[in-house]
């Protein structure tokens, strides 16, 4: 027998049905019936009150990225909803499964410019996987189930539910719904046996194969399949920013990071291989540089779950559509066991060159101010390379991703496609809920931290054990670097006056320390990691440091600058 409950309570039931345990949110007028229903579900739904709706979506993203589950955020209408827009766009481009539930004015007021009415479906539909307005309590169970199905299936993404107030209060005979089929939506394109054979043949014929590992491998839980694929044919690989933890950093076939601030070897060798094999990555311009000269000498195979990625930026010779967990395994079966030793050895000189010219200086400086690179590497090592890396955006992000090391999957949470400053702090909070057993290290800049600094309140209230490493250079460093390199050192509005961050941490009851001198760094890191709960470690780093190497925007992928 169906029970008669309100639409708001139907939402609670539906969330519980979907296995949701953690929500990030912020209440307001148009979502009050939902918050009222939530009051009775506090034993089943752990609602984390953030300090700004942008914090809720980024926290849901951080939660999703480390757990593989769908992140969930609840906010009110109008400004509450528009405050989530950045996070929705960010989750879309970075394929993060998330459901955002926004309050909306009652349907009788829609279109009247009612108080806190915003056309949320109109605003979010171009930047979300699906955006839907719930206008009747009868639709709640169906819409929620459909939302979670869409968010997590196929190539994951954000879904928005715009929940009209009258649908929250109306009574309905609640029956759970389960959507796992939508005829107009095929989440995983079927695997084609002939294509699998062809891919294996191309790989077996290749002398210099090179694999590009993207986040798709993490999203498809295909880390093991990837390893077997690489190992059987002994193929070297490079990882994208979001794919960094899809392959352990110290795996002998892991040649490092791709992209503008990636490693020299993988970028140069992209233009020397005879077969480029992209797995679950989307040839972002930050990875390819100049498309006209990108891997022109090579045949290209693209493994992806999303057909619209094929030939979008780079024309490929073969598209292997499907779930890479299956397609990789299927191709691996047909691979010859080979070694590509001389080809693999060809990466070494580049690695050495980069080490001598860039890396050694960045992580083992003898004198001068602290460097971001050394701080990152020390924190990584102090956590046994097992921590989750969360970054904000800027130099802190690039140094974080270059020098952190990964031994486990789902260990990198960073805003890749959107490059959203302010992402880091709330995403790190979400990560502590998504992987409560793991250490979460956030590297952020003095600029980005202040974009969502209000979430220190959430950390305080929840005791969220985020290890915040503030790499303070008193600059909007990344922009300053570009000004130095491409705008004749004209530092237009990038120097920044900073507050006393220790005092701020203190106000929130978060233990904090500032390190200025190299000799104090190890002890401070140790203290941070051994302190229960949150910690703010401020490092006064070199003000005018540059992230190197660098492929200047639009330059050829193999034209990396090693010095400025």
């Amino acid at each position: 027998m169906a029970e008669r409950i309100s639409g708001a309570e139907a939402l609670m039931r539906s969330l519980v049905n979907e296995g949701v345990e953690t929500l990030f949110g912020y209440p307001g007028g148009a979502i009050m019936p939902v918050y009222d229903a939530l009051y009775d579900y506090r034993d089943r739904l752990n609602h984390i009150l953030v300090r700004h709706e942008q914090g809720a979506v980024h926290a849901a993203q951080g939660f999703a990225r480390v757990s593989g589950k769908v992140g969930c955020a609840i906010v009110t209408s109008g400004p509450g909803a528009t405050n989530t827009v950045t996070g929705i766009a960010d989750a879309m481009i970075d394929s993060t499964p998330m459901v955002v539930i926004c309050g909306q004015v009652g349907t009788s007021l829609l279109g009247t410019d009612a108080f806190q009415e915003v056309d949320v479906v109109g605003v979010t539909s171009p930047i979300s996987k699906w955006s839907y307005q719930i206008r009747r309590a009868e639709d709640v169970a169906w819409a929620v189930s459909r939302a979670f199905y869409i968010a997590k299936s196929g190539r994951p993404g954000p879904v928005v539910l715009d929940f009209a107030k009258n649908a929250q209060t109306a009574m309905v005979d609640y029956e759970p719904a389960k959507v796992d089929f939508i005829r107009s939506y095929q989440p995983i394109p079927p695997m084609d046996k002939d294509v699998i054979k062809k891919a294996a043949q191309m790989i077996n014929e290749s002398v210099k194969p090179f694999v590009l590992v993207g986040q798709g491998v993490e999203l498809g839980d295909a880390r093991e399949e990837l390893k077997e694929f690489l190992e059987k044919a002994q193929m070297p690989a490079g990882c994208t920013l979001l794919g960094l933890s899809a392959l352990p950093s110290d795996h002998p076939l892991n040649m490092g990071m791709l992209g503008m601030h990636g490693n020299l070897g993988p970028n140069v060798m992209t233009n020397q291989c005879d077969l480029l094999i992209a797995v679950g990555m989307r040839f972002d311009d930050r990875v390819t540089g100049n498309l006209k000269t990108y891997a022109k000498q090579a045949k290209i195979i693209h493994f992806d779950i999303d057909p619209s990625e094929i030939d979008k930026n780079v024309k490929v010779d073969l598209a292997v559509l499907g779930d890479c967990k299956q397609t990789l395994a299927a191709v691996t079966e047909l691979l010859d066991e080979t070694t590509h030793q001389s080809w693999i050895d060809g990466f070494k000189p580049y690695a050495e060159k980069e080490y001598n010219k860039v890396i050694d200086k960045a992580i083992h400086p003898k004198s001068g101010a602290l460097l971001m690179g050394e701080v990152v590497r020390k924190v990584s090592e102090a956590s046994n390379n097992e921590a989750i890396l969360v970054t904000d955006v800027g130099q802190n992000q690039m140094f974080g991703c270059r020098y952190f090391k990964f031994t486990k999957g789902r260990s990198v949470v960073t805003s890749g496609g959107c490059g959203t400053m302010g992402f880091g702090l709330p995403a790190a909070i979400g990560a502590t809920f998504g992987a409560p057993e793991r250490t979460v290290c956030l590297f952020c800049g003095d600029g980005g931290l202040q974009m969502t600094i209000q979430e220190l309140g959430t950390i305080m209230e929840q005791g969220a054990p985020v290890k915040i490493i503030l790499l303070n250079n008193n600059y909007l460093g990344n922009v300053r670097q570009w000004q130095a390199m491409f705008f004749n050192h004209r530092y237009s509005f990038t120097p920044m006056m900073n507050p006393d961050y220790e005092l701020i941490a203190k106000a929130y009851g978060i233990p904090a320390k500032t390190v200025v001198e190299r000799k104090d760094l190890d002890a401070a890191i140790k203290e941070m990691l051994s302190t229960d709960g949150p910690y703010l470690l401020q490092c006064a780093v070199l003000e005018e440091d540059n992230v190197l190497p660098m492929t200047p925007p639009g330059a050829n992928v193999d034209c990396m600058m090693l010095e400025v």
Binding site: V121, P126, F181, I182, R183, S184, Y185, P307, S308, D311
Partner: protein, 224 residues
């Protein structure tokens, strides 16, 4: 406009009247100019017709047009209506673009959750129709004796006449419609002109949408 009668020219409509050489030449010129225009744009891109099938859910139109605008492709014409399959809407869109772009657009449209199928065609792969209405001034029409002839030669119909205006209806392909309009407009008789979006059906012997839906239905049964 002079009235030199060219006896060799036959009017197919009444068989009695004859067209002036000049009018004819002009009509041909206009037609060929338009024909060229409608086949390729200034960049040499062909006109593609996109047939897009979707579920009948709100907001689909703006999602589809957004796919074009985001990639800087202009929509030349657009028609939306129910398709022969219950609950399925059909969008017919025409745009000038490269084939690469056409492919990308259809993939991006299919990525939208409620879009069932999107495909693109060149003119030789489809039957095409457009319709138009031209409102002309009756007093001006009476002064210009070529009007009737032009209308007949274009196989158009006058659907209404009153002392103030007459309404001409012309159905056909873009070039013919525009040729009629250009010819009438040159006489200065046109008060209003409206042209519908293109509608099209494929010449293929296979009904791809039906096959797709049947295939999806089989998959659903298997999943159950």
């Amino acid at each position: 406009m002079n009235n030199n009668v060219n006896q060799n020219t036959d009017c197919s409509t009444c068989g009695k009247c004859a067209d002036t050489e000049e009018t004819q030449k002009q009509m041909q010129q206009e037609t060929s100019k338009r024909a060229k225009l409608s086949n390729v744009d200034a960049n040499g891109n062909p006109l593609y017709t996109f047939l897009i099938y979707s579920e009948n859910t709100p907001g689909l139109l703006s999602q589809i047009t957004a796919v074009y605008t985001r990639r800087q492709v202009n929509i030349e014409s657009l028609n939306v209506c129910a398709s022969s399959t219950p609950g399925v809407h059909k969008f017919t869109v025409t745009s000038y673009c490269t084939e690469e772009m056409a492919k990308m657009l259809t993939k991006q449209m299919e990525k939208r959750i409620e879009v069932l199928r999107a495909s693109y065609y060149t003119d030789d792969e489809i039957f095409i129709l457009e319709t138009s209405l031209i409102k002309i001034s009756t007093p001006r029409m009476l002064e210009e004796k070529n009007v009737g002839r032009i209308v007949r030669m274009h196989n158009a119909h006058i659907v209404e006449v009153n002392p103030t205006y007459a309404t001409v209806e012309k159905t056909g392909i873009t070039a013919d419609i525009l040729s009629l309009y250009d010819n009438l407009n040159q006489l200065g008789v046109v008060l209003q002109f409206v042209r519908s979006g293109r509608i099209a059906i494929t010449k293929s012997r296979v009904e791809h949408l039906d096959e797709y839906l049947a295939e999806r239905e089989r998959e659903r049964q298997n999943e159950l």
